[in-house]
């Protein structure tokens, strides 16, 4: 058990640095590959200039392969991706990047894969062949592939074109699909940033900002698509999913306070990173399966401070990161001054901290409803939170939150009067008793895919509601993988 955990962590720790290395190596390869192909256009293969460029290109390729294994260089929608990482170049790299993208376009391919066995002779042949194909006006992935095959280039493979996917989102399905992509991009981005922070690296927040902006836009347009994803829980990815959920809940709450778009972006950013300090906690405590002793708690209670220090070290010193630092410090402070950690820095809580605290507690507690030994139902979580309004939580903000998540928050498992089980996906503002659900089965048989149902829809003939909620269910009773229904 211990070894599997540590190996998982090692991989995670590597991910952040991988991205940085990818960017550097990617830029180097793009530049050198472009030079090599251009040189092949002018000189024959035995020319000294060509040999020098070939050697340099192979050297970069070899180094990258040694570190990363198989490499891919692919163009899509005007971007170049190296091993799946988008390469953002400045004007100095622009000519090479443009050249390769135009070349790929002419040849009707999206790029190349370089296998670990790539030899310098193959790179040479490929450069000459690609150049010849371009001159001849050869068009089509299959034709190029044939040429590669006949030239016995086995370790470098051309890649077919990738379908473009940026048409207008018109229907519900597309919006839901876009919400999913944004949600998981947010989660993956958080992972990358977390890895970089835990390794003490400087983080470029531009990508995170992009994804937060997209979350804000989607929430402002229709929050239901993202809110339903907060039902997704996972042990392995708990911290990341939880942080993404807190981010979504916080933005939803912020919209109800009429925060500006820019403020919502700051709030979302702070919420997404509120738990970043946990990356600095010793693994033996983070992964401890049993209850904590006093010493463990003492260490655990340092995570808000570690969050402050990590953000201070790894992010630019601007309003965004300052907000994140304050929220990280204060997200376990209570309104009445109690809570942790113990510091000399205590004054009235920041608005964003008050918001994130509410969302954090709610999501953490309701996450337990699927996995905890003694899960607390959403209704009971809210009831408990209300009991603490005024001294733990801000009363007015809690009320705003309560109206946002409503009676049956996403992820609540219910039994319908039809005898079928369903997972709540979102609320109907006009009828809080009749949420939107996914019917998942009848207890004996579980569907492959959940069936979407709006409990507020009446039968057009009888005018009656076909189904109603009978009761809230303890999810443990069902032993079902709910995630697949959330994501289907």
């Amino acid at each position: 058990m211990a070894s599997s955990r540590s190996s998982r962590t090692t991989n995670r720790e590597l991910a952040g640095s991988e991205e940085l290395v990818h960017s550097q190596q990617g830029r180097a390869l793009i530049n050198q590959l472009s030079i090599l192909i251009k040189t092949a256009r002018i000189y024959s293969s035995d020319n000294k200039s060509f040999r020098i460029q070939l050697d340099q290109c192979y050297q970069i390729l070899e180094t990258s392969i040694a570190e990363e294994g198989e490499l891919s260089l692919q163009a899509q929608s005007g971007y170049l991706f190296f091993c799946g990482v988008r390469i953002r170049h400045d004007v100095r790299g622009f000519a090479a990047s443009k050249h390769l993208q135009e070349l790929f376009h002419k040849l009707d391919i999206s790029g190349f894969v370089f296998a670990t066995s790539t030899a310098v002779e193959e790179l040479e042949k490929a450069a000459l062949l690609v150049n010849a194909a371009e001159s001849e006006g050869l068009h089509g992935f299959e034709k190029l592939q044939e040429r590669f095959d006949s030239s016995q280039i086995e370790s470098i493979l051309p890649l077919p074109l990738v379908a473009e996917q940026h048409e207008e989102m018109t229907d519900d399905r597309e919006k839901r699909s876009f919400a999913k992509r944004t949600f998981f991009y947010a989660v993956n981005n958080l992972k990358t940033v977390t890895d970089m922070v835990s390794n003490g690296r400087q983080v470029d927040a531009a990508r995170t900002k992009r994804v937060i902006h997209s979350l804000v836009d989607q929430i402002l347009s229709d929050e239901s698509y993202l809110l339903e994803l907060t039902a997704l829980k996972s042990h392995d990815q708990y911290t990341f999913l939880h942080s993404a959920n807190v981010c979504i809940y916080s933005i939803c709450l912020g919209t109800r306070l009429n925060l500006t778009k820019a403020e919502l972006s700051l709030l979302g950013f702070a919420a997404l990173f509120h738990d970043i300090g946990k990356t600095k906690l010793p693994l033996e405590i983070l992964n401890k399966p049993s209850n904590f002793n006093n010493q463990d708690w003492e260490v655990m209670r340092m995570h808000p401070i570690y969050g402050v220090l990590a953000v201070a070290r790894s992010l630019p010193f601007d309003e965004r990161s300052c907000r994140a630092m304050i929220v990280s410090l204060e997200h376990h402070y209570n309104l009445d001054g109690t809570g942790y950690p113990e510091t000399l820095f205590r004054r009235s809580l920041n608005l964003y901290s008050k918001i994130v605290t509410i969302c954090d507690v709610f999501d953490a507690m309701t996450s337990g409803r699927v996995y905890r030994k003694n899960p607390v139902s959403p209704e009971n979580v809210l009831r408990n939170m209300i009991q603490q309004a005024g001294f733990k939580f801000d009363k007015n903000l809690l009320k705003v939150f309560l109206t946002a998540v409503s009676l049956y928050p996403p992820g609540t498992v219910i039994l319908l009067d039809s005898g079928q089980y369903a997972l709540v996906m979102g609320k109907n503002p006009g009828d809080l008793l009749r949420p939107k659900v996914k019917v998942i089965g009848d207890g004996n048989k579980w569907f492959d895919k959940g069936i979407r149902l709006n409990l507020a829809d009446r039968d057009p003939v009888t005018g009656q509601y076909p189904r109603s909620i009978a009761k809230v269910i303890d999810p443990r009773e069902l032993n079902v993988d709910f995630a697949r229904f959330v994501l289907d």
Binding site: S77, V91, D204, D236, K261, L351, V361, N380, K392, L487
Partner: protein
Amino acid sequence: MQRRGQLNYSLGEITAIRELFLSLAKGIKASRQYPPEHPVSTQFKAVFFDKLKSFFEQGEVIAVNVHYDTLTAQEEVVFRGSAGSDNVAHLLHRDGVRYLEISRQIAAPEATELFDAFLACAERSEQCEDIVNLFWQADFEHIKYEVVDVFELGEIRELVAGYTPETESSRVRPESALLTESVDESASVEDSARLFPDQMNEAYQHMLDQLGDGAGYSHEELAALEQLVENDRQLSIKDEVIELLLQLCRSDWTSRDLALAVEALQSTFDKTIQDADFDASSVMFNRVRELLREGEVRSPTARKKLTEFVARCGDKIRIKMLTEVLNRREELDLEPARRYLSELGWESLNHLLWMLGELSFYPARKMVCELLVEKGLDRIDLLGGAVFDSRWYLVRNVVWVLGETGDDRAISFLRKAASHNEIRVRAEVVKALAKLDNEAVVDLQLSMLRDQSEKIRSMVANELGNGRRRGAFAGLQEIVTSKEFPDAPLSEMRQIMEAMVTCGGAAAVEVVQKIVRRSTLFDKTRLRRLQEVAVNALQLSDDDQALTLLEKIASDSKSHVCQIARKALSQLQFKRESKVGVQS
């Protein structure tokens, strides 16, 4: 968004769009040299807006498709960029913008924001700001854009891999446990799962009632929420964070945690310098010193680490960072940087001198020189050491600083600089010596009258004259009465003679008298020239004997210097009368 590719632009409209983007590119290129509020920048923004207005006199919408290095309107290339930071097509395309549309209702502030967004991401670095983020933050009303976002390209299958939950449900998350401390654990799902919808609704309404007016929000609740937001907007969040970091650094923690805290403080401090936020740098530096001075840091480890932090604030690494920032552009508000640097102790003096040699722009060099005058007073030895530097321009600046200190200890270093190969250094030495109110500088000045450069000799003579240093008289007399003196260039001869007359009083008049009396059978022209110069110089004397001598020579019509004496006399009389007039 509906693309307007089908718009039918007239030739005039296409030309107007071309001019618009060209003005944008030019504006970006020029504005990168200046701060945002600089007149040059403002002027380019105005030109850009004029071009926009000019288009909208004929057209309704500017719609361009963005390609790798071109912008096209209706298939016509309206902008083609090169490999420069002013390539607006590249700046858009790089971050995924594929279409841009500007409608005619656009006003100047929005156009300025568009301009500023381009400018902010035009840095030559991969880490510079993302234009899509800037567009988003600007929240344009009359500008639309279409973006291909990276996360739109990802396959959901790949992204969601690994998010399927484990089937076991026995583990308890520590995070959940942490959050449930104060929540009633006994309230398990069993208590509520059997609640029927009506009861649920009742419970929900009850909860809302508990939080106030269940039917909606009361005026008080709404006012309280608005107040929360308003108060938050008044916060100075950066100041709060600085205070927070300082508090963390003085907590009673383990050595490791304290090291982390001070490291974070250091990192933040460095960023304030890199961002040219020198006021924040000053606040951090001063607050730490204050905490240490007032004994508010109890832990010896914390005290030690914070003392080291203070030392690092003015070390070479930080001064180098600051130098890089000041070298970014000439037009920069230097006052905050000056305030910060002035807080540093004498330990930083050497680094400041190093900085002086590295600064590219005159205003920054001037600022540092002035600062060194203040800081160097107590450490002339450190300051003066820089005259041995191999960079002549640094030596020249240091000579200026030494002169401004007015401190006698500077003389020995100025003596060294007086023999510098570079004439510009020696010229600065002459000026510096004039600022030192000490007769000891006279020897050095007199020795510089023998400088290889006529310019320097002339400058020294001028300074000696202006300075009216009595102590210089003997030396000047020696030069004036030397055999070689009549061979000196006329202007130099005049300046040295005048200096002698100014410094020497009655004794100098006697020297002139002797020169005038001198006669020779050989090379009369040479002597005459000397005598003319000597008589003419008398007009600068304050001594009454000069007046008497001039009257005597002027009345001797046979004398070849009679005319010169008359002119000098009238000048001297006029000067004296003016002086009396002013006094009365």
